[in-house]
């Protein structure tokens, strides 16, 4: 079949027309010798992106039976999709179309019209050459399983399960310990802005247990996961006997593995023994919950209690966000139970980023809790050694000390990250896909993170994230609808692959696996996003980005500079 390339130059009103000599462009391009065995249709149009322009283009493609299309106009960022959509309405494969930017690259940046015109001609020539090396690519559709696996039965995992489960979508919730609720079941009270009642947690646990569409596995961990968004195959390790449960399938996975508190005993500035009256915030919470009162190990009531903030903050390198509100909540509970005793809070910075928390702080202060600002503080058993803000060192003692240690990623975080091939950030928590724009997704499509697994946070923020995950999954994984994976993916040329597996390490999407039998890498095209990291790093040139091949780029470049 004789090739017939349509080249359409957009005037973009005065934008291109006034700065580039389009007549000359048309004349030169039409008479290019090197394309003489190819039929060229070269035309100009005043505004190709307009409705009229799109109709014109559609008609041109059909009436000329074009085999390739080049549009010289604005930035592909503005209108590449517009013109690809025009192609889709015809028989022309949209990947045999190429857009050349003669506005931002020529008209707008080169004051000399003759030079701008020359560059436009070169760019169009390069574009034509590239188009000749492009090949038809086809969009595919894949079936997707709408079910969801949630790892971790704390508040975030439960909330996500409740938001996601319905008749058309089953949720499998796995929990490492023997019961649901995570750390939140140790709280006797929530923050005032969380309704003040721990009943909420219990209600959620019951709601999860009663929901027919949620299958709960306690004392269960992930054994293995293979597959990709829409089609994960999962093996669980269930129960004390760790029997393997296979055959589980899900379209998405939510990581909700939560946190643990840093062990203050590991820090040089907090020295105490087990028998000392020193507790972490979590230990005090459960003491109040289980015993309904605050008492020393001897059974007596303490006469003075010291609460110390920011334990391990410097060592971890981050502020755990929620400890200030927690300490203030605990101080208030203590004051309510033991109104006569001295309660002193040693803090560095008040971190109360929620709109209601400062008011609570003011109230607790007014109730008679002393707040002492320190530069740094440590403990020796139950005596508190601290440096005032003016540099003066002081020492005080209390009957009981409560420490607010930093939040750390939960046990097993690293192993889980490796199993799922998702990244951990520099502070050891799971890394979100984009800090601002995609905070509950990971770089692996279909794997999400919620709650303290993503970073230190409280119940409200964990709930919000869990609901956010439902927003993502409910819109991306719709029962009965198929998913369309990326078209412009990368491929392995097996003959060239030496099996060094460099590509496996640089792929951000976990799209590449290794075929041990053949000794070559294999790209899962359903997962690949075509970023080209593997292409750039492959030492033996065995990777090809199918819409950015070496001939495409090389010929385009040669044509532009010759």
């Amino acid at each position: 079949m004789r090739l017939k390339i349509g080249v359409y130059v957009c005037e973009c009103g005065p934008n291109i027309a006034e700065r580039v000599d389009i007549d000359r462009v048309i004349k030169v391009i039409s008479s290019l010798e090197e394309f003489e065995d190819i039929e060229l249709v070269v035309k100009r149009y005043k505004l190709l992106c307009s409705n009229d322009g799109q109709a014109f283009l559609k008609n041109e493609i059909e009436s000329n039976a074009l085999t390739h299309l080049v549009v010289a106009a604005c930035s592909p960022r503005d209108h590449e999709s517009t013109f690809m959509n025009v192609c889709k309405k015809t028989n022309l494969n949209p990947y045999l179309f190429n857009m050349v930017n003669i506005r931002e690259h020529c008209a707008w940046v080169i004051p000399d019209k003759a030079k701008a015109t020359e560059k436009a001609i070169r760019s169009i020539r390069a574009g034509i050459r590239r188009t000749l090396h492009q090949s038809e690519l086809l969009e595919r559709e894949l079936d997707a399983n709408p079910d969801v696996l949630i790892v971790g039965g704390g508040i975030a995992g439960m909330e996500a399960a409740l938001m996601l489960a319905d008749e058309k979508r089953k949720v499998c919730l796995i929990e490492k310990t023997e019961r649901l609720g995570g750390k939140s079941i140790f709280y006797s009270q929530l923050l005032s802005r969380q309704g003040n009642s721990a009943k909420m947690i219990q209600q959620k646990i019951e709601a999860v247990q009663q929901n027919a569409h949620i299958q709960v596995f306690t004392e269960t961990e992930l054994e293995s996961v293979v597959g990709f968004f829409g089609n994960f195959e999962i093996v669980l390790k269930v129960g004390k006997e760790t029997e393997l449960q296979t055959g589980l399938k899900a379209g998405a996975i939510v990581i909700a593995t939560g946190f643990r508190l840093l062990n203050p005993n590991k820090l040089p500035q907090t020295v105490y023994q087990k028998e000392d009256e020193v507790y972490t915030t979590l230990e005090v919470e459960s003491m109040i919950l289980n015993e309904g009162k605050i008492s020393l190990k001897s059974g007596k009531s303490p006469q003075s209690i010291a609460l110390v903030h920011c334990v391990g903050r410097d060592e971890k390198g981050y502020c755990s966000t929620i400890c200030c509100s927690t300490i203030i909540k605990i101080a208030r509970m203590l004051k309510a139970k033991l109104p006569q005793i001295s309660i002193r809070v040693y803090y560095r910075d008040l971190c109360l980023p929620h709109k209601t928390d400062q008011q609570t702080y003011e109230e607790v202060k007014a109730e008679g809790v002393d707040f002492i600002r320190v530069k740094e503080a440590g403990i020796q058993n139950t005596s508190i050694e601290y440096t005032q803000i003016d540099g003066v060192k002081k020492k005080e003692s209390a009957d009981m000390v409560i420490l607010a240690p930093a939040m750390e990623p939960a046990d097993g975080t690293e192993a889980l990250a490796e199993l799922l091939n998702v990244s951990l950030g520099e502070t050891g928590f799971f890394q979100e896909a984009h800090h601002h724009l995609n905070p509950v997704a990971t770089s692996i499509e279909g794997i999400y993170i919620v709650g303290a697994a993503q970073g230190p946070k409280g119940i409200s923020e964990s709930v919000a994230q869990a609901q956010a995950v439902s927003g993502k999954i409910l819109n991306r994984l719709i029962p009965g609808e198929k998913i369309v994976p990326e078209v412009k993916v990368c491929k392995v040329l097996e003959d060239f692959c030496t099996g060094c597996q460099t590509c496996l390490e640089v792929c951000c999407y976990g799209a590449i696996s290794f075929n041990e039998v053949k000794g070559v890498s294999v790209v899962n095209e359903a997962v690949c996003r075509g970023c080209g990291n593997c292409v750039a790093s492959c030492p033996s040139g065995a990777m090809r980005a199918i819409h950015f091949t070496t001939p495409q780029l090389y010929r385009e470049m040669i044509e532009a500079i010759r």
């Binding site: 973009c12 009103g13 981050y318 980023p353 008011q359 609901q467």
Partner: protein, 433 residues
Amino acid sequence: MNNTYDTLVIGSGIAGMEASLLLAKGGKKVCLVEKLPLIGGNIIKNEESYPHLECSTCMVAPVQQEILQHPNIDLMMLSTVQKVEGEAGDFHVTLHQKPRYVSLTACIGCGMCYEPCPVSLKNEWEENLSDKKAIYIACAGALPNVPVIDPEHCLQISGKKNCKACQEACMFEAIDFSDQENEVDIRVKTIVVATGFELLDVSHFSHLGYGKLPGVYTAMEFERLFASNGPTSGELTLRDGEKAPKSVAIVHCIGRKEQGYCSGVCCMSSLKHAHFVKHKLPDASITHFYSDLCVPGKLSQKFLHQVKEEGVHFIFQTDPEAVRVAENGSGLEVKYTHGKGVQETLSVDMVILEPAMIPDKTASQIAKILAIDQDNHGFFRTLDEKAGSTETSRSGIFVAGCAEGPKDAQYAVIQAESAVGHVVRSLSVSHTE
């Protein structure tokens, strides 16, 4: 324009955009209402956003583009919600749209129309730091890249003179002086409120000198001053447009006491401001007046250390708002309390005030129209007993972003996605019923 939608999203900041786009991608029909002639909200005023110092415009522009091009989103700019009747599953909403006078379909954003306009005005989107014409776009890179005419000051529309300068300059016949305001009735099943925030007006703190002393800036003014698409193209100069500041004081927590809450993000943005100054003017001395360094989250404290290492000073004040700023020759002096009550002064060229985030000025009106509760600060209230949820006091209406309370872009996006979760759930319920 079809007049039934799955969701009405009010506000096109980062939260409103995320909610609209997520729903649209999931096949839901969205009507997105924005009162300004551009979309993007406050985040696009920032040159870079912490903690990764990523270019905000570059980060958000693809999202804006998608919003503009998505077939499932009908975008109504220059529009406000007038009336809401009905109930969850079938709200009857009346929208009011002001005329733009420039056709969104015909205009290609070439910008030929600004030059000939004889009217010059202060550009309030740029915090009045630069001028605009009566036909204008807010700033370079504003999206959609289509200007709007200020009818009050346009000679033609206000009837002062038969001026057609812009119309004559336009090659696309995109300008229509007869464009009329418009009332549109739509029916929606759910509503997401994402009306965002503004910064507290600091001019009533007379001891801080804002509005009187030209060297005193608000955080938002500084953001624009630093922005490469801003009034000075990113050149850091004082209001005279020439002199660069040699010394800068950054005062935290303006309005924290008055408002009764910590906005949670200003410490990080003030650190970012210090970093900006250091980046552009390495020799400038920078002093923070702070009481608490609120740097929550897994990444923020590292940024604090980075800024400290850049040689930025920190002076603790029990109440930073109590510092006084006065004139001192051609510069300024900051009076503050050092240690145990000793008064000190620091001479500087520039003072940046970091004010509290407060609800957008339209919040009370919207609360009334939607019949949803506000808290005592004017932010929309979510249900306490459902800690962390984005459900408001009225079924079918959800809130996301800073309309609910001060927060960073990450949490705003999380809330937007949470609201979307609720929207989709309630849509599927009403569907099955």
